[in-house]
């Protein structure tokens, strides 16, 4: 409850700062959407030249794309670790974080809260609704609860992966350029993984499980039985990777000694 109150307070704060730079807010929303749009344009262009991608038609791929946007929006809103190493370790801000009463990771998430990202989630839902009705997908009693469950699991996967990667900056002081590159890779989780070769499938399923934030969970709604069991694994993978991420983080924080400036 205390943590929930903090989220509200920081959101209020965010709104206050943002009202000073109103134009920024919209520029940010638009640039987020444009980032998403690249992949959308890719899908549209592909399906002008073919009518199936590894056995999936355009509406199905677009549906997966819509689903992908939902957890990604939630994740980018609440978990934002861009420039952690420069902002917190190099500048010594981490010392301040550690003196705060809230858990240090949570405190960092709070300070970087980014509500414009949620616009992407809404657009994702709209895309799902449109392509879902094109496909004539049934709307079952479990659709909404499972959608929420899968969204939370996918957010847990993202959080786990990015927290683990960010905690690397406790071990090496070099600014790691891995995060932006990861952003490229995660979008591959929204194409049918079966089109890739074995090595990339294994990588995207078990090592950096971005297939679980896109194609696998979405397959359940699309009634793709071949991926059903993978879809049901999503919450488990979410818990495992969130656990790994938190462990790596906590271990890293214990090793943290301050930049000494």
């Amino acid at each position: 409850m205390y943590y929930f109150g903090l989220v509200i307070e920081y959101l209020k704060n965010y709104m206050k700062t943002r009202l000073t730079y109103r134009a920024d807010f919209w520029v940010e929303v638009i640039s987020d959407l444009l980032f998403q749009a690249t992949n959308f344009i890719f899908i549209l262009v592909i399906f002008m030249h073919t009518n199936s991608l590894g056995g999936w038609n355009q509406n199905e791929v677009v549906f997966v794309y819509g689903f992908f946007m939902v957890p990604f929006g939630v994740f980018s809103c609440f978990v934002n670790m861009w420039g952690f190493s420069e902002r917190y370790i190099v500048k010594g801000e981490m010392d301040r974080i550690l003196t705060r009463p809230a858990h240090n990771l949570f405190q960092i998430f709070l300070e970087n809260i980014d509500p414009p990202a949620l616009v992407g989630s809404f657009i994702g839902l709209i895309i799902m609704a449109i392509s879902g009705s094109n496909l004539g997908l049934p709307f079952e009693w479990w659709t909404i609860p499972v959608l929420i469950l899968f969204t939370l699991s996918a957010v847990a996967i993202y959080t786990g992966i990015y927290t683990a990667l960010t905690s690397l900056s406790f071990y090496s002081d070099a600014p790691t350029g891995i995060l932006p590159l990861m952003y490229n890779i995660q979008s591959y989780g929204r194409y049918p993984v079966t089109i890739y070769n074995r090595a990339i499938q294994v990588l995207l399923t078990w090592i950096i499980p971005f297939a679980f934030v896109g194609i696998y969970p979405a397959a359940l709604f699309l009634q793709r039985d071949e991926m059903k069991s993978m879809a049901l694994l999503t919450p488990v993978v979410g818990l495992v990777f969130l656990g790994i991420g938190l462990m790596a983080w906590n271990y890293g924080v214990r090793r943290y000694k301050g930049a000494g400036s």
């Binding site: 920024d24 592909i46 030249h49 991608l53 070099a174 600014p175 350029g177 070769n197």
Partner: protein
């Protein structure tokens, strides 16, 4: 070492562009500009470990795109003038070219502007933009030798990439690659300098990154876009970064066409100088430092 690098990097033709202050120090200044290349190169070298992961991730990018295109081609007729084999080469070459030309000059410039250190840079007897370009070149040289070449070697081992054999194609490609770097850096400089006018250009920088990746033909070759869109893209500078050099290197454009491609690149290089010069002058008048 420094001398060797200086010579290797002395190819940029325009580097004699007006030093800001007195003509008698011109010779000394040129040397100073080369030092910026060398220093950035050495700085990058200190952080080279980061780029090993970069090589892996770029290889993965090539792999994923390769298999995606393979699934799209299916039974294998040509798409947008690309055969499946050419597309493989195109994907590998484009990503590895990006490994070379990519830099964060926009972010560096806007950071300088926002934290006010630009004021000191303006006082110094050099041209700020030119210095940034030189630093970009130093980074580019590093990326070329320790990122692009090893990455290309790995990509060639893993995927059926067909590179041309005649030396003229290679020389042509290297020249075009250099222009890709120049044009991409110019776009970065413009984006960075815009921070003078909008204060917070974070969103703009992200937008630029997406636009460059998409419109340069890195993600989808421009000839695959619907007609109206590719005709729009053909009058924008972005195609000169990836699509045109990539088309030459995959052998889709040959003979006289190669000179056309080079001509387009040179044209864009010159055209993009205009907004840079204009922004730079407007910015010097407009500069006010917030706090400090």
């Amino acid at each position: 070492m420094s001398k060797m690098l200086g010579v290797a990097a002395s190819s940029p033709g325009g580097s004699t562009r007006r030093p800001d202050s007195g003509g008698n120090s011109r010779k000394l200044l040129l040397g100073a500009y080369f030092d910026f290349i060398r220093i950035r190169f050495l700085t990058m070298l200190a952080y080279r470990v980061n780029y090993y992961s970069g090589i892996l991730i770029y290889t993965l990018n090539i792999g994923v795109n390769y298999f995606t295109w393979k699934a799209i081609y299916g039974d294998g007729q040509a798409l947008g003038g690309f055969t499946a084999a050419q597309m493989t080469t195109y994907v590998a070459v484009s990503w590895m070219a990006r490994a070379f030309y990519f830099n964060n000059l926009d972010r560096e410039i806007s950071t300088d502007i926002r934290d006010g250190s630009i004021a000191i840079q303006f006082i110094r007897p050099y041209n700020y933009v030119l210095v940034k370009m030189m630093q970009g070149l130093g980074e580019g040289l590093f990326r070329f030798m320790l990122f692009m070449i090893p990455g290309m070697a790995i990509a060639m081992l893993l995927f059926p990439v067909n590179l041309p054999t005649e030396p003229s194609a290679w020389i042509g490609f290297l020249v075009m690659l250099f222009f890709s770097f120049l044009i991409n850096s110019q776009i970065n400089v413009i984006t960075g300098l815009l921070a003078f006018f909008v204060e917070n250009n974070e969103g703009m920088m992200r937008m630029k990154r997406v636009v460059v990746d998409l419109f340069s033909g890195l993600i989808v070759p421009i000839s695959l876009f619907p007609g109206w869109m590719s005709s729009v893209l053909e009058v924008l500078p972005f195609q000169a970064i990836t699509y045109l050099p990539g088309s030459v290197f995959t052998g889709r454009v040959q003979g006289v066409g190669i000179w056309n491609v080079l001509g387009i690149q040179v044209l864009w290089f010159l055209l993009l100088l205009i907004p840079i010069v204009w922004l730079y002058h407007a910015a010097r008048k407009r500069l006010f430092v917030q706090g400090g």
